[in-house]
Amino acid sequence: MNLLDYEFLRKLLKERSGLDLSADKQYLVESRLLPLARKAGLPGIAELVQKLKNGANALTTEVVEAMTTNETFFFRDKIPFDHLRDTILPAMLQARANRKSLRIWCAASSTGQEPYSIAMCLKEKAQVLAGWRVEIVATDLSQEVLEKSKSGIYSQFEVQRGLPIQLLVKHFTQIGELWQINPDIRGMVQHRQLNLLQDFSHLGKFDVIFCRNVLIYFDQETKIAIFERLARQLEGDGVLLLGAAESVVGISDAFRPYPDRRGLYQPNPARALRANAGAMPLGLKVVAAR
């Protein structure tokens, strides 16, 4: 692939998905886009780039989808789901006892393993959640992965990565060599297409946001902007869960680490106070500053 074509693709991917490819990722681009080019009847990457330059919209979507990493598996890293069950849920059950509702957003949910893992966790707590309105909103940039997520159908390989065998037997139905998650769990998850680079205020406020293993692909500036907007979508006592290799520390003060729980963050109250102080009349601002 020549340098100009690579630069074109880097810029396109950054604009459309926020994906921040370093200068040495030509091999990755080639390995993912060459099959796509062949599928489109094109001999190579150069011809694919030419098509994209000519404004092939459907092909552009396919390129973005092929390049965005969809690596995921059930109960990935395990600990976040232990935190959900043992820390977040008990706190929310207490804090939301009056309104009896819980909204969870699974951002960049890929093929559904994460939102369905959350749903299975909540299903195990069905007794204490009886009478509650629970929403799990799964969003992803790619319509293709959302369709797979909606179907809830997984290969034998996929159901063996992270999913305890007891949960497979309990929540899945075997269809030949495939496994489909049962309708009661599927029905707990709503799917929506969403680009994290674009406005997501219409989703409303959430009590818990899973945004794991996606921000690592963004540059610093994009991360800061997304953290700011995520903080606005989270309730004051809500919890943000990031991936094992991700943190807000040193990037944004919109969140602060949750005490003694690695990977969990809460909106920064000092920040909210400053924002409120900024909105106050001048005289009151002085009082607030004291």
């Binding site: 063996q160 305890p164 065998i165 007891q166 037997v169």
Partner: protein
């Protein structure tokens, strides 16, 4: 170092499993059927058993029942690893005391995930 008894009548499967599990820091003992595996367990219990279902002489299901009846036989974590990939077999294995279940074909990721699941890693 933890020990894992790999029980399978296929020498190829035993070799593949050995390579994966040695990479996960297990010391491996091999047996080609349930009876030989049971003899090994009577001499000393391993920490884990990776267990095929269909084998000559004594199959994996019968071996598991016998293992669980040995003194201390409830301790080893037993992970079935078999081509019997239907719910009925899985349910039967769990009922008999299996801790996890791998449906063949398998790879390193699956073995790692399953051994993590039962607290062996």
């Amino acid at each position: 170092m933890r020990t894992c008894l790999v029980v399978d009548d296929s020498s190829v499967i035993r070799k593949v499993a050995r390579r994966i599990l040695e990479g996960l820091d297990f010391q491996i003992v091999e047996a080609e059927d349930g009876e030989k595996a049971l003899d090994i367990c009577k001499r000393g219990l391993p920490d884990a058993v990776l267990l095929d279902w269909n084998m000559p002489v004594m199959d994996g299901y019968e071996f598991l029942g016998n293992l669980r009846r040995l003194p201390g036989g409830d301790q080893p974590k037993v992970v079935f690893c078999t081509t019997e990939n239907d719910v009925a077999h899985i349910a039967r294995a769990l009922h008999a005391g299996a801790n996890e279940y791998i449906m063949k074909p398998f790879d390193k990721d699956i073995v790692t995930a399953k051994f993590q699941e039962v607290g062996l890693i």
